[in-house]
Structures are given as C-alpha cells and as structure tokens.
Amino acid sequence: MAKLTTQSNLLLDNFLFDSAETLELNGITAIFGSSGAGKTTLLRILAGLENRATGFVSYENEIWQDTKNGVFIPSYERKIGYVFQDGRLFSHLTVEDNLYYSLKRAHKGLNEKTTIGFSETIKSLDLQPLLHRYPNFLSGGEQQRVAMGRALLRSPQLLLMDEPLSALDLKRKAEILPYIKNVANQFQIPILYVTHNIDEATHLAQRMVLLSSGRIIASGEIGEILERADLWPLTGRLEAGALLQATVGPTKKGMTHLLVGEETLKIPAVSIEPETKARLRVQAKEVAIATERPSHLSIRNIMTARLLSIETGESAFSELLLDVGGQHLRSRITREAVKELELCEGQQVYALIKSVSFEGRLFT
C-alpha cells in the first residue's frame, strides 16, 4: 500500500481547506463529498497546483511540500498523472501528439516495470482510431479516454482523477467505467478518484475518503464507510445502504440469481458470467421488514435476518441494522412500524426487497 500524508491549509475566498490525514492508497480510492466539500482542492494541493496552500504533503518516501522548511516541489517534478474534469487536451495537437507530449516528458530513471508504454496504453484505452484526430472533434467520452492515456504515459506513481465523467451522460459514463477499472488493474497505480456520485464511487472504488466543508471526515474501506450510520448525512442517508458480497448464479426467466451467503436474491437479468464475485448495493429505503415469512406477495426477495440494532433519530424514520448470513444490511422504516411490529434488537426478522430496486446496482 502506498502512503500519502497531507496536512494542508488553504484559504480561498471564504473557503478554508484544512486537512490532516495519512491515507493508505491501494487500487481506486474515491474522494467523496458534496460539491464545495473541497474534493478538487485536495487533489490540486496534492498535484502542486495550489501554490498558495501551506502545510505538509508527502507521498511514499518523497516530501512534496513542507512549508516550514521552504520545500515546494512543483507539479512538473511530482510523479503524478492528473485527469481534469474538462479533459484539457491541447487543442493545437492531434491525439497522437497529445500522447507523445506526455511520453516525451515521462519520469526518467524508473525501471522497466513501472514505465508505461505507448502501445499498451493505446490498446488498453482503445485509442488507435482516434490518433490522427484533433481534440475538438472528439466526443466528451473520447476526450476523457485520451486524457487518461496522456496522464498514464507520464508513468505516474499516483493517478489523480477529478470527476472525469461528470460532463458525460449516463450512457457514456457506463461506456467509460470499464476503462477506468481496467487501468487500475492493468497498471497497478493507486488512483485517487474525485466524485460526488455514490454509484460511481461504489462501482469503482475499494476505499473512500469522505470530505465535508474542507475537512477529511473519514477514510477507509468503502463498505465500512457506507455502513457507518453517523456518516449517513454525508454519504447520503437515502442513497446509502449496504454493500453485499454476492456470487453470480444462473439466469432463469429473465432473472439472475445471486448467492448471498445461504440466501438467494433474484435481480433483473445481467450479462455477467456465473461464479463471478460481485457487490450489490442495497439502499436502506428499499428494504422492508416482516416478522413472519410472508406469502401471497409480489416481492421476490425474502431473506432471513437478525435485527442487530434500531436507531431512532428526530425524523419519522428508524434505521435498522440487520445481519444476513454474516453481512450487514440496512433498512429504513417508519417509527410507527417499529412500534407496531414490536421490533427489538436480537430478534429474527425477514428482509423484503423488490427485485426492480437492484437495477444497475450490481458491480463486479
């Protein structure tokens, strides 16, 4: 695991960014938070693009900034790749020349293993058909693929991506996500991925850094962070839920079976090979509770669960934490229902989930 330390201060207009954290980076780490939380600012500080920031930044064994001792390594000497929200391809150069621009200035003195080659990058991002075109004649998705390739060809040791998909529509997003996963797997570079979209975060990332009002609130394994009820106001109370580890089973009658521990869930058919390990995000608001196994019901998914805890706040709702074969599941029901069903901690209940709510929530 790569180690990133930041203790940075930056006052921009009325916004104070102030973070102190040592982050363990491995695979894709989502930097998550609402707009204005300071996600881009954090990335820019790490990249050395905010020369007004003060404090300390180090990555692995290299100190990038140490204001006290007058150290500031400029962007062009940091071993990073940066993919901007708006691509920022050089409009006067063809795609090929954009890529060579980076390759020519790539970090030297690195060994063969960590040097990223031109042909493997082209192949991995399908850039061959675009090489002789000018950036202004590419679609948004194509531009971002080129931007990723250009950042990679610098042979970075840390790849920073600032909401690279935010300008794209849903369909284009879905087309690019596999490329990003591919890059993370193939080139083995830690990626910091800024997003305010929880679906993107859960789809791509194994780890998460949660930001709010210019501060790092939490960081760690993504499933753990999404489960923490105290963070729900930030991770999205209704959006959040639980990530279930599942194994893909057979597809019958337009429904794909998923094995979650002892239980089987049915979801609208997906084209994923059986036996593949996958993660299923289940939103708390989609999970209903019964104290007896119901019959004569349209809901396809009924799982036996143990009620671990009931949290009741100010609102009309209670948050239930359930144990399903050793995994956690969240349910959000009204306080009235809790009272009427006489729910209590430790009790066995049945969690009911409509199949349709799983649409697009299975990630491999």
Binding site: L49, P74, Y76, Y82, F84, R88, S91, H107, P135, A151
Partner: protein
C-alpha cells in the same frame, strides 16, 4: 511618370521589421505577465501601454523629442555611448516606433494569452513541462492568432506612422525619410503622381496583408480564440 524613388519604401519596411522584432521581444513577456498577474499595479501598466492609442502623435513626439534629444536623459546617455544623437536618426525612430506601436502588439498578445488561460498550462505542468517549456509548447501555439494579429498590426501601424516620425526623425533621406513623410512631401511639392504611386502601393500592400491574415485564421486546423 517620374523616376520612382524606392528609398523611403525600403526604409519603412526596415523600420517596421526592426520595430516588430523589438516589440515581440519586449511585449511578449509583458503581455504574459499582464495576462496572469494578480498584481494591483496591473491597471496602471495597462493604462500606460494604451496611452499611444489616444494621445495625439504630436504629444508623444514632443515628449520623445525632449527625452531622446542630446539634452534629454536618454539622449545624453546615448551620445556618451555612441557619440551620435538619437534624434533625427534611424535608432531614434525605432525607439519612437516601439513606443508608438506598443499597444498594437501587447494588447492582442495579452488577450490571446488570457483566452488560453491557466488551464492548459496546469495540464502541461502535470505532464512534466517546466514553465518555459509550457510557454513554447502550449501557450504560444494556442495563442498563434494573437501573434499573427500582433505582428500584422504592429508592422502596418509602424508603416503608417507620420506625426511621431516627423517630430523625432525629421526628413533625412536614407535615414528617417519613410514612406509617409515622402508622400507628405510629394503632396507639398505638388508631385501628385509620385504621391499616388506610394499611396496606392501602401494601400494595396496593407489590404493584401490583412486579407492574408483573415484567410490564415480561417484555415487553422483547430478552433481556438
């Protein structure tokens, strides 16, 4: 048709070429600084640069005459250095032209650097380009239209200057007698035919150059400011 004297034409072309080269060397860093600085004195510098746009050439010429004359601070220094006077010399004309045409070079450059903005430079930095490298490999090619406009405006404006030249340079054949002065003298002496040739030539030349620029701008392989 009388014999055509080409002296003033060559002199004008020489003056314009030297002036544009000096202006690019001095104007580019200044335009760059103006485009990206957060300094509070920026408006003051901008106003100073724009002055020649609004001042009558005679005002400019008057002050330049005082500054560059053998009794003026710059003129005295020049005399000590070279043993010759700046006023009524080609060198003096170059200095006057540079000041007179300054806004015509700096403003288009500043505008196009601003149009390019910080974004591509930041991208270049994250790709390993040092500032000077980024300037030549990214900012300048992206600001190509600004350069073309600056060169053409600077050149043609110097070619067409009259008032300042008359006051600082006078009318010395082969040294300060440029096209515009020659035309003026031909008209004064009622040599309309000579005046016609020079005037029409200047008109056709200026039009052709401007036309060329507009065609070039349309044909750039990328769309940028």
């Amino acid at each position: 048709m009388g014999s055509l004297e080409l002296g003033p034409v060559w002199l004008s072309l020489q003056l314009a070429t030297v002036t544009v080269i000096v202006l690019l060397l001095v104007g580019t860093p200044l335009a760059w600084w103006l485009a990206y600085t957060r300094s509070r004195i920026k408006p003051v510098i901008e106003a100073l640069i724009a002055l020649p746009l609004v001042l009558p050439p005679t005002v400019l010429g008057f002050y330049l005459l005082i500054l560059l004359g053998p009794a003026g601070p710059i003129g005295r220094f020049w005399v000590q250095l070279t043993d010759s006077a700046l006023t009524f010399s080609f060198s003096g004309l170059v200095i006057a032209s540079v000041i007179y045409s300054f806004p015509f070079v700096v403003q288009p450059l500043q505008n196009s650097f601003q149009g390019v903005g910080r974004a591509p430079l930041e991208a270049a930095a994250t790709l390993g380009a040092k500032p000077l490298d980024a300037f030549f490999s990214v900012a300048s090619p992206m600001a190509i239209r600004g350069y073309v406009t600056a060169i053409i405006l600077g050149f043609t404006h110097t070619l067409g200057e009259f008032g300042v030249v008359l006051m600082v340079g006078g009318n010395i054949p082969g040294s300060t007698r440029v096209i515009s002065i020659a035309i003026y003298e031909h008209v004064e002496t009622l040599s309309y035919e000579q005046a016609h040739i020079l005037s029409l030539g200047l008109l056709i030349f200026s039009f052709s150059v401007l036309l060329g620029v507009y065609i070039f701008n349309r044909r750039l392989p990328f769309n940028r400011i």
